[in-house]
Structure formats: C-alpha cells, structure tokens
Subunit: 369 residues, 4 copies
C-alpha cells in the first residue's frame, strides 16, 4: 500500500531502481484532453540523470511510452499507463549493500518492515521512483491548464544550497529564469556560487542539501477542503513524501511564529473589482482553501545520504563495518528535485480542482451540461 | 469530502462551532479494547476552553458521550460514535461576521468555495472541530498501548512562543512535566516568560504564535510506507491540517539544509543487541519507515487571526469596512494545541500500526491466530 | 471498517440496535441544497417499525435530528450528521441470545470475527442499522432531483412474497401506487393475498421472503464507470449489503441465460431525436454505464431468520440447545425493505452523478462556473 | 476512476483491447511470498483466446511479464506491475464500429460518457481488460494459500448454458474435473450437449449465455465486514463488474424467496468439535461474515452481444443502419469466464483476509510478531 496518491485524479506508481522499469497508472483523468508522449518527456528530461555536470552521471534516456488511455492524441477517460524502462543497471556496483545498511538510507527500515529488499541501488526507495510522479505531474499540468485560469503556472526553483541563499522575486519569477542554469536557481550570481559549492563538495566525497521554493499562480479561490484535506495539508504530504525532504512551510511558515497577529493578518481589499489581500502571509490558502492569491511554499532537503567517504555502519547480522558509496549519485538532489516538486504540486491541485468541480454549480443539471 | 482521515483506523469528524454539537465516528478500531468515556474525557479536558487564564473563557464543559461501538466497557469492532454537544453558543457575538470577512480567517474562502457559510463563530473552520480529533486520538493512544512496546508514549510541548524559546531535553521530557503549567512548556523559566507575554499581548488586543515539538517513543522499526504514505508525509499532512499551522519539520528539519552529508548521516551501531543509530538527525524515520529511534517533529503555528484591534477588510458585497473581534478567543493557540498535536500523531501511528499488522507475519495462518 | 459507502457522496453509518442510537454522517454533499429534517423523516417513517399490522410492533418514533451541515435550511457543504435515538430498548427480551447463537443470524459470525458482540437484539447486524442508510438516501434523492432530469424518480415495490407473484407494469408504476397498501405491492389483488399470507405465516410462528423490484427513471446516459465500479456492480453491492438479501439481477437477469444473443440484444433506434433502444433487456445499463433507458433490477430476500418456533442450535461453549424467538420481529422484511432499497439505489446514483460531474465539461473552466 | 478494486490488497487494471497492451498493478501484497511469472501464466492460459474450438480464434499468446515488486522469486511488499502486450491487433476489422453503435455493447454509453472512445474492438470495455484481473487473481490465490487453512480452494464451473443444465456435486467438485473439457462443465454428459449447442449457435451466427457457479472451501469463520462491505456484497460487486454478467445469488439465492424461515434457517450443531451448520442455505456467509462452511454463489451471463447476424442500429449522427459482426468473437463467454470468476473471488477474499488480519489478535503486540 502507499503507492497511490489523490482522490479523483489518482495515480499509482510502481517500480524499483533496478528491474524491468518504473511507471505510473493515472486513473481519473477526464476525457478529450490533448496528450502526447512529448508532453510528458519534457518534464522527464528535466528530472533525468546525466543532464548536467552537477548531477549523477547515470545515463538513462528515460524515454516514456504511453501504453493506454490515449487514442488519436486525446485522453479516453480510461487509465493512462506510462512506462519508462530501466536501462543502465549495474547492480554489481551495489554488492556491498546486500548485507551492510547504508547510513540514513532506507536499507535498514525496509529490512525491518518487509524482511526482504531489493538491495540493488535502493530498490523502491530510490529517487528513480519519482519518474512516475513526474510523468503524472506533466499530465496534471496540462489538465490544470484547461480547468483553471489562463494565467495558471507552477514555478519551482532552488533558493538555498547549504549556506548559499538566493534573492528571488517570487511574484515575477518564470520557468525560463529557472531553466537558465543547471542548478535551477534564477539568481544567477547565487547559482554560480551554488554550482561551485556542489562541485567542491563532490570532490570532497561529501554532499549538501538546501531549500526549494514553489509558487503557483492563477489558482481560483475555492480549491481545497476544510478539515483533513486542506490544500496546505495535501501539499505538505506531497512534499514530505519526496525522498530526502525534511520540512515544509507555506506562506510565512516558521517565520510566522515570531510575528504578532496584527502584523501577520492579511487585510482584505477590493482590487480590480476582485476581493484580494494586501499582503500574502497566508501563502494563498486560508482555512485550507485557496483565496485566489499566489500559493507558495518551501521544502527543506537534507544533504544526499550517499557519500563517497567511509562511514561506520552495521550488517544485517549485526557486525560493525565500514561503507563508502561506489554507485553513481548526486552530491546535491535539489536541481533534479525542482521538476519533482512541481509535479507533486500539480497532482495536488489537479485532484482538488476535480473535487471542486464535482460539488460546484449545483444549479446546472448534469444533463444540460 | 475531506472530513475523514486514515486508511484502516479511519475517523470522520463532523460539526460546526455553533449548532447541535461536534463529534467523530471511528471506523476500524479493533474489538475488545477496554474503553470508557473517561479515557476520552481526559484529553478533551486538556483541549477545552476555559481551562486556564491564558485561554479563551468560552465555557464549554465538553462532556463526551459514546453512542455506539462499546459494550460492557470494551470495543465491539463496530463504529464508535462520540458526541459532544455545543452549549455556550452566543451567535449574536458574531453578527458582524455575517457580511464582513475576518482577515486571515476562512470566511472568505468558504464563501468562495461553497457560496454559503455558517457565519456563527467560524462554523466548520472553527478550532472546535478538533474536539472530534482529540476524542479519536484518545482511542488511538489506548490502542497503540496494546499494539506497541510497553514504553510507547507521545509527548508534545510548547518550545517557543514568539521570541521566547525554551530549553527542553527531548529525550527525557514527560507528560507530567508538560502539564505542570498552563502554557504546556516543560521549561518552567521559559513558561513564566511565555505566560507573561501571552497576557500582555492579550491586553494589547493582539496575538502570538509559536512552535510545538512532539516526541514519540517506543515505536518499533517498520511502521510507515515507502512512497506516498511515508510516516513523515502522513504526519506532515496531519499537522498542516490543524488550524493555524504553517510549517512542519521532522528530525533535523530545515537545519538539515545547512549541514553536509558527512555531518547529517546517522551511523548505525549495535546497542543492547539492537541495531540503533548513534545520532538521530533522521528523527526516527528513514525512507518513510520508522527505524526504532524516537520520532520527533516540530509544528509552526501562526499568531491567532482573531484579534481585538480594528482591522481593514471588505464585505461580501465588496465594500470596505473595519472589523474588531468581539467573540471570545485565545490570544495564543499553542497551549490548547498541544493535546491536538498528540491526537493527530496518535491517529497517524495507529493507522500505520494496523497497516503493518495486516502484511506482517505471513507465516502464521489467520486461522491459527 | 466497512461502515462507509460511496466515493464522493460518502456516508458512514454507526449504531447498534440497543444503545445510544443510530446515525449517519454524510460527507461530500454539495452546498446550498435545501434540506430539512422533514425531508428525511418522510422516508424514515416508511421504514420504521410499528407502521402497520404486518410489521414488527417495536414502537420507535425514529425522529431524526440534523446535528450539523445544514444552516438556515440549506446544506453547507460540510458533513451532515444525522442522529436517531434508540428508545424502546428491552434488552431482557434477548437474554437467551447472550450465549446461544440464533440460526442464520450473525451471532456466531460476529463472535467468530470479533470475540465479542452486543447480544442485545442483534447489535450492529440488526436491520436498525439501515436507519442511517434511509436518512442518507433521502438526502441523496433530493440532490439527484437537482442534478438530473426533472423526470428523475426511484420507485421500488414488492413483486413477490413466497409463492404469490404480482403483475406490475414497470414502465408506469408510481410511488403512490406502492404506498397504497401496507405490503407495498402496487398490484392490489396480489397485495391482499400477500397480506393474508404474512398474517397466516406469523400465526404459525414462521416467516417468508420475496422479491423487490426497483425502477429508476430519468437517469441521463453516461453515469457509471467502465471497469470495477460499473453501475450494476455498485448497485449489486448496495443491495447485497442489505440484511437478508440473497440475490440481485439487473434487466433480463437470470432469464438472460436462456436467451440467444439475437433475442437479447437491444437494437438502437432514434426516438424523439434521441438515441434510444427498442427493448430494454440491458436494464438501462450497458458496459457499466447508463444508456438513458429506465434502470431496473430485482433483489431476493430470504425469509426472516427470527421465527417463533423452536430451533436447534448451540451455545458459545458448544452445548446443544433449543431457541425460540421472543423479541419482536417482522414475519416478512419486504414491506419495510422497500424504502431501504430505494435509499441504497439513490446513494449509488448520487455518487456516480457527482463522479461524472467531476470529469465532464472539460471545456468550461472552473473559474467561469 | 473505477479501475481499482480492494482496500488492502488493491489492484488497478489498465489497457484497451487494441493499443500497447493490458496490465495490472497490485499494491498491498505482503512481502516474501514466492511468486513467479509461471504462477500467473497458468491462469492466463485458461483465460486466453484460441485455447479451444469453442472460443474466439484471436491468437494472443498473452505472455505476462512481472516488471516490479518481485526479487529473487519472492514479493518485496512493493507494487507488483504485470504487463501483457497486445499482439494480434486488426483494428481494420472494426472499422464499421467507428460510427455505428453495436447493440448491447458499450459503444454508445462510452460515447455518451466520454465524448470519445477507442472504437477498435471495444477498447476498455473489451473482455481483454480481464487479463489484469486474472493475473492479480493468481497472486491472490497464492497469498490465500498462505493466509488460510490448508484445504483452501476456489473452484468455478459452468452449470448451465442456455437450456442445458448440468448436475454437479458442489461439495466434491475439483478443478481437475472442471478442466477436463473445453466448456469447463464437470458434468461430462452436459458438457457434450453444451459444446454441441455452442457450435450450432456459432454456425447460426448467434450466441448463448448461462450460469457459472463458484465454490470456495477452507475459509475460516470471521472474514467479511458487517455493513456495506459484507462478503456477499463485495462478491456481488466483483461478479457484476464482469463483462456480460446480469445477476448474482449466494447460497439459496432467488430460491430462498419461495422458502419459509423454518425451512431456510441453518441450524447450528457441533461437528468434529467445531460449531457447524447442518444445512448451508446461507452459502457460507451470515450477516456478511464467513461462518466456516463452503461459500458458494452463482453468476448469470447473458449471451454474447457480438453476433454475426444483421442487426438494426444507429450511428453517432443518428442515422439508422445495419451492422453484422466481423471481428472474431466468442459465441459463448462462459468457458473463458470460469477463471475470471475465480480470480475475482480470490481478490475479494484476499482483501478481506488482510483486513481481518489487521484487527485480530490484539493481545499480541506487533513488536513481538
């Protein structure tokens, strides 16, 4: 269990890092949406390994195939099955992992839970699982473009790597600014420092983490649910379900804890004939429901657990040993995590958009529509 | 939708702040668990208004009644319905809210979503909804006591109010330390400062937020799911579903973003014949699954949106107006949020404990058990 | 688990036959639907005991109370909690059931499953649980009236009691025809025979079963899902979840097994500018999806298990014993099951109507609606 | 939506009859179950076209591939993805279906629901979708063998084709008796008549339906849920979700409607130190929960809709036309439906076995197990 996400736009991912492949089944995508493999490939290419000098050199082309649910270029309303085959598998690089538990990886916890694990490259716990999320997210983005305002867009970007922080204008940043450099930080000066840092850390056999921010524009007021499925709750779950993430904050986030109510509250005003807020400490969500302002949140990622240095650990038979990574890996997950954060955000919003669609407009009979 | 939580230990809360009452239905509680109204009342009393000088004076006795699912002091395995009637309703105190939207409340977003709202005291968005969560959480705690190790316990406490931070030894803090003062901060010196701050802020007609930390001990390795339903993902959703929460971090959290892998990784060692980690930056969870160490996380709460000062806002008919709270309210939600955080944590763990029970021990046939 | 039904219009029932009461929580009802306790009471009165001479004399007024989710006569979009208190509890009438298992009742299976049971009157297995279904079904019917064509209606009726079969014109029968007699069979001549039969069977201390047919008119083509959640699959589940039901058939049903394809197929034609079928062996559903014709199905109910005659059985301690019912009971469940069948049908259709609403009309942006 | 089935042992099927292939993802299979492609292939071979002279000659080898979730011959606890490629696609055979709606097929209803359909061979409504069900059912059967008593088995067989009925001893029939002939009827004399009938009907360009019975042995008392998810309710849904099924009855079924309570009730007795019933009109289920007796039920299948004769119909543009099937098809679906009925029964039981496992044995702490 636990490999499905969403209520109405529901995805199920499958696959281990080494084996036949990875994939996703999307159930609940409305019919007649234009969709091609290229739509999906674009985001997969942003996620795939080997795309730049600061990420893992594992060379997966990650070509996706749509196996069902699309006919003559449009969705059928039936499940969309997407498959990406695994190609560059070198399980022998992982032979030590067969018995020794890598520190801060999921080797030990999988063993404790299941009593068995695919020790080749992380198995199901590998970030390769996110291929399915990104593929589904690409479909969700297309659908949201139809369901929401024309100005809808999701832009995620790196704002901090270790001690290097970027200065970014959240209200105006665009995807093209983000894609301008390999680190996916739209502040060019900071991006250069970040790149240098990642390269130096890799040379040391070490790793670094950081923060990704995501801003979503063009969401109508009214998406989200009041109690458990608050928009921020589902976003938090989505983000904490990502490998290596350790924290989530929306709007003012942890900084809100040092503000007073009189500073933090977002006064309402009428702007361009719409009810708007003058500030946006709420991060676009109030009481779990979007208020029409930009939604933005931040996700904390820890430094990659796989490092080239010797680390103390134990084996399944409880003997002490030392382990140093030999498999290929990213010294910093953030550049490749940017499209994954966007994908998860799209999946949450898409699900809530369909949920809202189901209950709104009671006055219009289904048969008339 | 959105009023249910959990897969196997599944709760559905209902009720508005003003109306017949609030309650919860728990479906999936195993049979033969000893359960009384007193078990539930204990935690409700920790949540209820009017319990100390620093919380809202609204005087609800909040007596719970178990309407079903319990027979001769033990659970039947059937749904447990728990009802708490609303008593001290003064809807007239909220008459201004009928048209004007309170800043940073859910008035506007509910109106946008539903086109209708119970404007009396916040309706479904009121923190009164959490009565059902706390009642269900009390049942979950009892069940976890049966399902897990004997040393199982959940302890939440306030670690920060506005600029006042407490020093607390996370590994040893106990519930009795927390309950020693009204602010529920086990650092007595800090608690005094926090109490003074809350009283002074109330006098100013303002409000403050802060941070609650929660530590969970005695969780076996193996709870949690690999992908979307990671333990930290479900905890994040649970916490961000609480009114006024803006952030969540587990283990090292946002601080991890400034660490290197070599510092952050938790080496494994053998301690008392068990596989343990020497540090706990992971916060007790690796790859979404518990590793047997203490689980701990922090939740950021914003300052209460209801303040006594005049605030600019607009009405449903888009006229500018000014609003000042007259209803009773908390100048700081954190003291009463402590048992709610514990309840949500218990619900998440209980659900995952049952999920693990379903798939473990394949060797034992059901009929033999 | 197992006390919830529906994906989008989701209900959770709770309660035992003896205890605080029975009830239901409806999550997912759209906002702004006019709803009063009277709307619900009407159907509860058709289900309640003591309404005529051929049903159990247990005298429950079964007055319902809406505890949440409705404000100023309209739904809020939040969970609707409905409570019906238990009044006429005489648990002493059931004392023998404490140890002995009534034949063909759920006493033994509950004991086997849970190791505990509320032996007073059947507990959760009592038909009293259906109070919550009927209450929720009344809300579903109101909602369907808004969502569907104006000619939408659900009419269920008794077509057979033991060997007495009725002749009923399925295409024209109306609720007022059904409600004209206590047995709820619109063929008056058959109804008289059925009434006499039920009374004579009761005098013998015995019981009888029969068949209820249900016809649903005014369903647009397009409701239902292709694979597991076919409309007929969800209807079958709904009906087999009713106490005492043993079979379900839609359209031609079991009779189809003796027809050839050339007889059974429903040719399409154009009628009043609509695509229609000339016959309706399909029962209004093709490939799991409504085709715009009347939907009709039949449900088989066994004779009531509770009979006044001596029956052989065993006790929990495996001793042979004899048991004769002393509690009040129905010699035939069908008359009171008619509104329950309608309620379950309404719940299934309502859920599918909202599901269809979520995916249809992709061309209209949510924000424009 | 609607392509998933089960709560804990949850499967999602995908795929159209013509396109990349068909498949299933199983989420929730416990770890360490021995599983190979051969385990699955055995049942797929019983379902596949071209296996005998009385079924469709479409020649699909239907070789399955396990893409994930299995490692070194045992399940990992992660999703099991199974793929069967489509090979023998001749979409040109279906060109007429592009515009004309085949009577009693899902062409029209899919068009009404989605506004688009894959008209090649039935698309998602094709019986080819059941490949995924059979593959998942094979896994479920293996798992049940571990979870239940050793004498667990599921045997389905044809009991009636059109007017030809078989005489079968339900208590002793075995799979090898069923597989002895192509029609899958263990009464050899009846099987010969059925085969002759099917061949003669095919020669006439017509089709026939019939009844499949299924008996399940070795189910412990206690599987099933009390209210909506009664074992018979979930079985009914499972069976009515099959293409061409029109009815379901369990135990005495529709015949119960002509019995009196005193005849129908199953008295309890003690047999071999176990609590047993002397008769089994209940069909092994009481109050939705298994009672330890054999579970048995019957499913009605209509005659295949695809027939070679000219049939009246209309086109999407509402013109009258005539259609005669040219694609390959089965004159009677029942022989190939036998393994599908078994698969669906296995899926229902497996899900309930895991659900029961989750709540039973509260006395044993998880950590000790």
């Amino acid at each position: 269990m636990g490999s499905s996400f969403g209520q109405l736009f529901r995805i199920t991912t499958w696959g281990e890092s080494h084996g036949g492949g990875v994939g996703v089944v999307i159930d609940g995508c409305p019919p007649r949406l234009e969709l091609s493999e290229e739509d999906i490939q674009r985001d997969l290419d942003r996620r795939r390994p080997g795309q730049s000098e600061i990420v893992t050199p594992r060379s997966e082309a990650d070509r996706c195939r749509i196996l069902s649910g699309v006919f003559e270029g449009r969705t059928l309303g039936t499940p969309i099955s997407i498959l990406v085959k695994n190609k560059d598998a070198r399980p022998e690089a992982y032979s030590e992992m067969k018995t020794a538990f890598r520190p801060s990886h999921a080797d030990f916890t999988y063993e404790a839970k299941y009593g068995i694990r695919n020790w080749q490259g992380g198995g199901r716990a590998s970030a390769r699982e996110t291929v399915g999320r990104v593929a589904a997210g690409a479909v969700a983005k297309k659908l949201l473009g139809k369901l929401l305002q024309e100005r809808f867009e999701i832009v995620a970007y790196v704002t901090q790597i270790h001690e290097v922080s970027a200065r970014i204008d959240r209200t105006s940043v665009r995807t093209e600014d983000v894609e301008r450099n390999a680190v996916r930080c739209p502040d060019e000066a900071a991006a250069e420092l970040m790149t240098a840092l990642i390269q130096s850390v890799r040379a040391e056999g070490d790793s670094v983490g950081g923060v990704i921010e995501c801003v979503i524009r063009g969401i109508d007021a009214g998406l989200g649910e009041p109690v458990f499925d608050k928009l921020e709750a589902d976003l938090a779950k989505a983000m904490l379900s990502l490998p290596a993430s350790k924290g989530f904050e929306i709007g003012s986030g942890f900084a809100a804890t040092r503000m007073k109510g009189s500073e933090h509250n977002d006064p309402f005003e009428v702007r361009e004939e719409k009810i708007r807020t003058t500030t946006n400490n709420s991060g676009g969500v109030q009481g779990g429901i979007s208020n029409g302002e930009d939604i933005f949140f931040r996700v904390a990622f820890k430094p990659t657990s796989t490092i080239a240095r010797d680390q103390k650990t134990v084996t399944a038979s409880r003997e002490e040993t030392t382990l140093a990574a030999r498999g290929r890996h990213d010294p910093c997950v953030l550049p490749r995590a940017v499209p994954i954060v966007e994908a998860m955000a799209a999946l949450v919003l898409c699900d809530h958009a369909l949920r809202q669609k189901a209950i709104s407009d009671l006055e219009n009979r289904i048969s008339e529509s």
